[in-house]
Point group: none
Chain length 217, copies 4
């Protein structure tokens, strides 16, 4: 019975933490971390100010929880795992589309990360280790497989993978967060296909030239 009660309590605690985290993300998205008061976050979650501190040690500790909670990793893991040995010509566009979708669904978190991470060295490190690098390695592993199978040329796959995904991130920042889509609209297809196309073939018109050499400029 005690066990059941404890389990119920834990569930309740998790639920409340979740509600507070959701509320926090909403406020922080529009007002920034400093701008979102604990009172506002609590009220948005439907509880009183003091209740916040039953679930988080401090406002600061909410940040880490927030960042750890949302990440692209689960999504991308599923997608990349499903690729198996699919040739890059098919896989890369798939990844681009999935990545773009994932980013658009996480714009709020992206705003948060861009804003709050750089000032917090510990969190920055944590974020690199827990979110960016894992995602990056996922791509690296797939690309390494492609290189082994000879379907893509030898290149620093970690760097290349980040460059690939990074292009999507930059469009998310400029078009969605900085409001670029109001000034210069770009369709989702335009973005994902251009990014995928560039990553696969580059921009050169006659790429039959021996690759790699020109890079030496």
């Amino acid at each position: 019975m005690a066990r059941i009660a404890a389990a119920a309590r834990d569930a309740h605690i998790d639920a409340r933490r979740g509600e507070l985290l959701d509320a926090a993300l909403r406020r922080i998205a529009t007002q920034g971390f400093d701008g979102a008061t604990v009172e506002a976050i609590a009220r948005e979650a439907g509880v009183a100010k003091g209740t916040f501190y039953l679930y988080f040690d401090s406002k600061e500790s909410l940040l880490a929880a927030l960042i750890e909670r949302h990440s692209l990793i689960p999504d991308l893991t599923r997608v990349v795992d499903a690729l198996g040995e699919m040739p890059p010509e098919q896989a890369i566009p798939l990844i681009a589309r999935a990545g773009w979708r994932g980013l658009r669904e996480r714009l709020t978190l992206l705003r948060l990360v861009l804003r709050e991470i750089p000032l917090r060295e510990d969190n920055a490190r944590l974020f690199m280790e827990r979110v960016i690098l894992p995602t990056n390695r996922l791509l690296e592993r797939y690309l390494d497989g492609c290189v082994e199978r000879g379907s893509i040329r030898a290149l620093p796959t970690l760097v290349a993978g980040r460059a690939f995904f990074g292009m999507l991130v930059v469009f998310a920042i400029t078009q969605e967060i900085f409001g670029g889509s109001d000034l210069v609209p770009m369709s989702d297809e335009e973005i994902t296909e251009t990014v995928a196309g560039l990553f696969l073939h580059g921009a050169l018109a006659r790429p039959n030239a021996a690759p790699g050499e020109d890079v030496q400029v």
Copy 2:
């Protein structure tokens, strides 16, 4: 004489504003906009707190001035203008290196932009119009020229240009701002050459296949 005095006064005002902006950028870089107090900024500029308000209406108004003041445009304009009709195989690496250098020299501003712009719709719009899009158009123009001359394939050059430069930005964010270089060091060459190489040739091993088609996945 009155005119001369007025001119001198204007010069003085500009100088003071400049000192304050520099001081502000230094403080904001390490503490964020909210964390940098007017008092600290003023003291860093060597004046008293009240003096700040002789040169700026408010702390907020300093932000716009700050963002407008620093941009990559002059640098890149010079570089891209100098390219003329240089073939992309040579030009793209040059641009990548210049862009990377410019970014690394402006990390402070990049931090500021990532942190403060997203929350301020007006500034975001302004930043897109005044900084991102001009830079983007610069590249677009060069790439359009290449397309015309047949040296690169037909692709949405505005999108492609942003993707190209965006790769560099993402490395600046992850490696320099998020501290990735402590965890996974990457040399400047590795970054610029991989980015340039990808943009030129893509990742495929046998890019002699008719380009563009595979993208249709």
Copy 3:
């Protein structure tokens, strides 16, 4: 049966109150009344926060109970009652030693009283009536007997008694509570014998008697 149950319940209530009072005294000793939270007191007593309010109306009401509960009276009553008509030359040193011992055993309570009583007029009155004056009257009665028997001179015995005991209190405050014993150590004997000696003979060298000898303390 009902009566037995009621008695058992009362005993239980008293026990719980006692545990809470002990716990409270321990917390308050180190952190002060304001610094000791109800939660901490309850936890120290091994019960939950809410339970506290089953036994006390409020945190404030705990104070009165706490002060009333501990007092020197029982100890001193026993000691003074046992004196009977013992001459002051013997009795006063005995009282000084017993008083000193009692004070040292009640330092926690002394801290509490010094801290919390002065701000609470009602409690102050209560404390005077219930603790200080009874103790004082105890001494007064003994001293009055001495005066009657001619063993001490006529003096305001209430005042004198308080002065006597007060000397001990002041050493408890300065040496034990203010930490004077770290700076200027004084032995228990030095304190009790000097106090007793002063009270009996005063400081003068020849109150007609042979001087110097009195130093035998």
Copy 4:
């Protein structure tokens, strides 16, 4: 000119600090340190809450300033210095009266000290070193002189001096702070003369009995 301005500013700072300290003492006397809010203190001093922090680092730092500021030392120094080699029969009553007067004028500070010092180990040490011991040594020096001149018997003068002054302190606590004067009024004379008389002659009726020996009980 700058020097003059600086001097004026320092004077102003001292004045403001003084006003705040006075105001703080008044509030703290009636409400305790914790009960006296910074806002209330500031308002009592006629300034805004924020102004408080221009003159004190924190509320806590006000305490030390407060305690250091008021002490009996200057008064007593003057009195005791003026005694010279005056025989104790005259000097002790003088000291008792001056000490009593000084204590009554500093009841507020006494309340503060009793309440706030015990919980703050650092302040307790400081208070012993800076206030109690210096006062104590003042008396010690005078008593040592008397012993040398043979006017009082050899006794531990530091202990005796504290016992002497301590009697006055206890009357201040019980009569003035605990409200004893409402229950059992005692005139100033009764207190000072009894204390002085006890210190000089003790309580015994025929102190020509060989003193000291009886103490050995």
